[in-house]
């Protein structure tokens, strides 16, 4: 019984899982169980407070002697750089963009959750914790999630003090709204640009430290390797993307805050440059990659129109508050102008199937329902080419209507404009259609990844001295992320969690300086140089872009919204072939000693290919449906996701098995003491 691993007399509410199925047999080896040695104990509401007290301090005079490298400048990285700079450490901050202000956190639209209970509608730290664990299908650690809910209120205070212009009531107090899957109003927002305003707050705080001399900023730099010396992360190898120079940067500790890897699917709502390279290079050096198959598909994106498309654009989920989602009842009506389809011929499928939550069901459920409508042939909008599971090419309309018509009639056009103004403009610009006149078309798209580098409670990876924050780590969201929770996690990690946990590690420092000719540094540099040399010398015939596109097709088809054993095995084969083809036939022009966007992309795509294979293996092993992972073999009679807590209530942490080896699976059991596992139901 798992209870024996718990302290302080807490009673486990579930048994340790015992996996009996083994769909991925032959694709992996089983490693030892993993225990989060830093996991806190005691009553859940005291765990973080106790930990902050127990963690050692670093006195201000000693902080000046400690060097911290932070890669990534989004909400997690920017906030961490600002906070650690203020504390007096020497921070070196790296980003691939031309300015930290462009990190992709800037694109988040909807809002940020916080348990402030300003509406007196029954919200509390515990309720936010409860909603988040339930929303994540009980695949997150309860201690981490509770901490997240606990610090959420401080985040709002911090951001307001920085001048983030949140929406306000007439009395001057903060306004908030509700979001999908939740029954209280706890989402703080700045129209449809919350991410932008929060990021600018963190960016400005960080720039203030640049001026103060505590943070040194390296823009247009890409981390290509982590330096691990004597068992600890001690620095990075980065490429100056303008000159092509390979640089060594050493420090006492390294933090990765490099965002998510949704671009493995080629088309996603991620920025074009978002990539997995920093995390993947760390993975190859010994950091475990946890739950890589958990991908959040967002239900309300603008549909694909053709093969030229480079990325997808999200329409904030808040539109589902006022929009009704439907498809024609009869496939024959799909080509018609939607305004000519009478009410009785419309199928408001979410309201029909899920009467309790209607259009506000959680993201995974809304997404799958839309897919099924289109699979049935009732999708709307332009037909796009697809290669089906049978390998046959076909034309399918991938879109459902999001109809604001009734809301415009009820509230008036002005009200809708005020609420969703910039979103509707964006829609009109991209599609060339006026959403006030005709229903919008939406379709699910890859949005956020819940998987990432495995970290302990203190956000340290399995490599000592290498920390990981924000979307780049796996923690907090479980198998699915609630709306408005990503911003919360990024800022919680950056402002409040990491600065309190990294102290304990740094209390042992400064570590003995390592020289630039330390064997570990030379080895890491040599790896980077050899790899770049390899990209430049293949001189094949295919563009990097075409490989990325092909990988994306495989991932979306077989490891997208729905996965099956057969499909995943097929995908693994296809990816392995693609990898061989890549290394023998990729074409990169230009030189390595100058700005070379194709070379940058080649490195990222090579890593995406390896990650894609691991995602499929992880998905293959997990023969259950949970959150953003839907296995065709595991569903209820009426097609709903079916979890198997008895087998899979664990974090799958994968260890790199070597170039020719297979990945090693370490399982970390998820034992709950404060919250009871239940099957989710939104009917």
């Amino acid at each position: 019984m798992a209870g024996s691993t718990l302290h302080d007399g807490l009673t486990p509410l579930n048994a340790a899982p015992e996996q009996t199925s083994d769909d991925a047999a032959g694709y992996y080896t089983l490693g030892e169980k993993l225990v989060d040695a830093k996991a806190p104990t005691g009553p859940i509401k005291d765990r973080w407070t106790t930990r902050k007290f127990e963690n050692r301090l670093v006195n201000p005079a000693n902080r000046r002697k400690l060097d911290i490298i932070i890669v990534g400048t989004g909400l997690a990285g920017g906030a961490a750089a600002a906070t650690l700079g203020e504390a007096g450490y020497n921070v070196k901050s790296f980003c691939y963009q031309d300015s930290p202000r462009r990190a992709h956190s800037i694109a988040a639209q909807g809002g940020i959750n916080a348990a402030k209970n300003y509406k007196e509608d029954g919200d509390s730290t515990f309720r936010l914790f409860y909603d988040t664990v339930k929303g994540g299908d009980y695949r997150a650690r309860e201690s981490n999630v509770y901490r997240l809910a606990e610090v959420s209120a401080n985040i709002i205070d911090q951001c307001v003090a920085q001048g983030v212009p949140f929406a306000r009531e007439y009395g001057g107090l903060l306004d908030n709204r509700s979001f999908g899957g939740v029954q209280v109003s706890r989402t703080f927002y700045a129209r449809g640009q919350t991410g932008q305003q929060l990021l600018l707050g963190a960016y400005q705080a960080m720039e203030r430290q640049v001026a103060a001399g505590t943070v040194e900023q390296f823009t247009r730099h890409e981390m290509l390797e982590v330096v691990v010396a004597d068992g600890r992360a001690r620095g990075i190898i980065a490429r100056d993307m303008v000159t092509g120079a390979i640089e060594t940067h050493l420090a006492d500790v390294v933090v990765l805050a490099t965002g998510g890897y949704g671009n493995v699917f080629y088309l996603s709502t991620n920025a074009m440059g978002s990539n997995v390279t920093a995390a993947w290079r760390a993975h190859r050096k010994g950091a475990y990659m946890a739950n890589p198959c958990y991908t959040q598909i967002h239900p309300t994106c603008i549909p694909v129109t053709g093969s030229h498309q480079s990325k997808l654009t999200l329409m904030s989920e808040s539109l589902r508050n006022d929009g009704r989602i439907w498809v024609p009842k009869n496939a024959a009506d799909c080509e018609k102008d939607p305004r000519d389809i009478p009410e009785e011929d419309r199928d408001y499928f979410l309201e029909r199937i899920y009467p309790a939550f209607g259009n506000l069901v959680p993201r995974d459920i809304a997404s799958r329902a839309a897919k099924y409508m289109c699979d049935e042939g009732r999708g709307v909008g332009p037909k796009v080419k697809e290669i089906g599971p049978d390998g046959e090419e076909r034309l399918v309309s991938r879109g459902v209507y999001l109809d604001l018509g009734a809301a415009i009639e009820r509230l008036g056009r002005d009200k809708i404009e005020e609420k969703y103004d910039n979103l509707l403009d964006m829609y009109a610009r991209i599609t060339g259609e006026d959403p006030y006149e005709t229903p919008m078309r939406i379709y699910p798209a890859v949005h956020y990844v819940m998987g990432g580098l495995w970290v302990d409670y203190e956000l340290q990876t399995s490599i000592p001295g290498l920390f990981c924050t924000g979307e780049a780590n796996f923690s907090d969201h479980g198998a699915n992320r609630l709306g408005a929770s990503a911003l919360m996690q990024g800022l919680a990690d950056g402002y409040f969690v990491l600065p309190n946990t990294i102290r304990d590690y740094l209390a042992d420092g400064p570590f003995e300086k390592i020289a630039e000719d330390h064997p570990a540094v030379l080895e890491a540099r040599a790896e980077v140089e050899a790899r770049i040399q390899q990209f430049m010398s293949v001189n094949g015939t295919r563009s990097v872009e075409s490989f990325h596109r092909e990988l994306g097709h495989i991932m979306w088809e077989y490891c997208g919204m729905e996965r099956s054993k057969e499909g995943l095995i097929k995908a693994i084969g296809l990816i392995r072939d693609l990898k061989k083809e890549f290394w023998s036939n990729v074409k990169v022009l230009g030189s390595a000693e100058s700005l070379n966007q194709d070379l940058e992309k080649a490195g990222r795509v090579a890593d995406f290919i390896e990650l894609g294979e691991l995602m499929c293996i992880d998905a293959l092993n997990r023969r259950e449906s949970c959150g953003g992972h839907f296995r065709a073999e595991s569903q209820t009679e009426d097609g709903e996701a079916l979890r198997h807590d008895d087998e899979f209530a664990y974090v799958a942490a994968w260890e790199w098995g070597g170039e020719d080896g297979s990945p090693v699976l370490h399982k970390e059991d998820l034992i709950y003491t404060a919250i009871e596992m239940k099957q989710r139901s939104y009917k």
């Binding site: 003090a161 001057g172 700045a190 600018l200 400005q204 823009t219 402002y495 022009l589 100058s594």
Partner: protein, 247 residues
């Protein structure tokens, strides 16, 4: 659609640049302007010519990375970012001239990419509210009037793309500067540093070599986020007050 593209090519900051002409076929009306350039680059790759370097990232109009002069206009003919400009704004057979941002303070890095780090240095000089993590009071303890908060938000939406500078005959960054001064100056939290902020930010602006504002208004006309020209009035007003107060 078939297009003739005249594109500025420049190998690096110190190299001479020149306009190269390319013919491109198979452009769809649904493509964004940048997807059209992606298509060109795929074509160049097959002929062995190095792809055209240009900056873009989010491709949904919010990160401010994309930065092209299109037929002499910053971000092209519509009031939007280049990534949100679609080819339906052009016609079959068009000739399109594509250049990098024009401004001495934004030196060319390569082809269509420029260096906008001067903007970061302007922010470093005072474009923030000094609030250390953990020292913030309860958020609702300082009410902010709704109209002021809304105005702060409206101008805080500046994406720092630099179109205002590229469009200005003087190469002035006054709109960028005015937006930040107004954003922070409208909020109660921004008051303690208000006048020191404007003095140091203007000094840094001038130090970076941006030109002075002569109220031409091209900046506001080119701004994809429609930051209004009156933020420059706010900037000037705050600057006058600051000088009067001896900052």
């Amino acid at each position: 659609m078939k297009l003739t593209l005249k594109i500025w090519r420049q190998a690096n900051a110190s190299a001479e640049g020149a306009v190269h002409t390319y013919e491109l076929d198979g452009v769809s009306q649904d493509m964004s302007f940048l997807e059209m350039l992606d298509l060109l680059n795929e074509q160049l790759l097959t002929t062995g010519e190095e792809p055209v370097a240009f900056d873009s990232d989010c491709r949904e109009g919010i990160c401010g990375t994309c930065s092209l002069m299109i037929n002499g206009q910053a971000h092209g003919p519509e009031v939007t970012t280049t990534c949100q400009l679609h080819m339906r704004s052009f016609s079959d057979g068009d000739t399109i001239t594509i250049e990098p941002w024009r401004a001495d303070s934004f030196p060319v890095v390569k082809d269509l990419i420029v260096d906008r780090s001067a903007f970061d240095r302007i922010i470093q000089s005072g474009g923030f509210i000094s609030a250390n993590t953990g020292s913030a009071p309860e958020a609702n303890s300082v009410p902010a009037p709704r109209d002021k908060a809304q105005r702060a938000f409206n101008v805080a939406t500046c994406i720092g793309c630099g179109a205002c500078v590229a469009a200005c005959p003087n190469g002035s960054a006054s709109l960028f500067l005015g937006a930040k001064i107004t954003h922070l100056g409208e909020l109660p939290q921004g008051q303690p540093e208000r006048y020191g902020r404007v003095t140091s930010m203007v000094a840094q602006h001038d130090h970076e070599g941006f030109g002075g504002c002569t109220n031409i208004g091209e900046c506001a006309a080119a701004c994809p986020k429609e930051i209004p020209l009156d933020v420059i009035s706010q900037l000037n007003k705050d600057l006058r007050t600051a000088m009067f107060k001896g900052f």
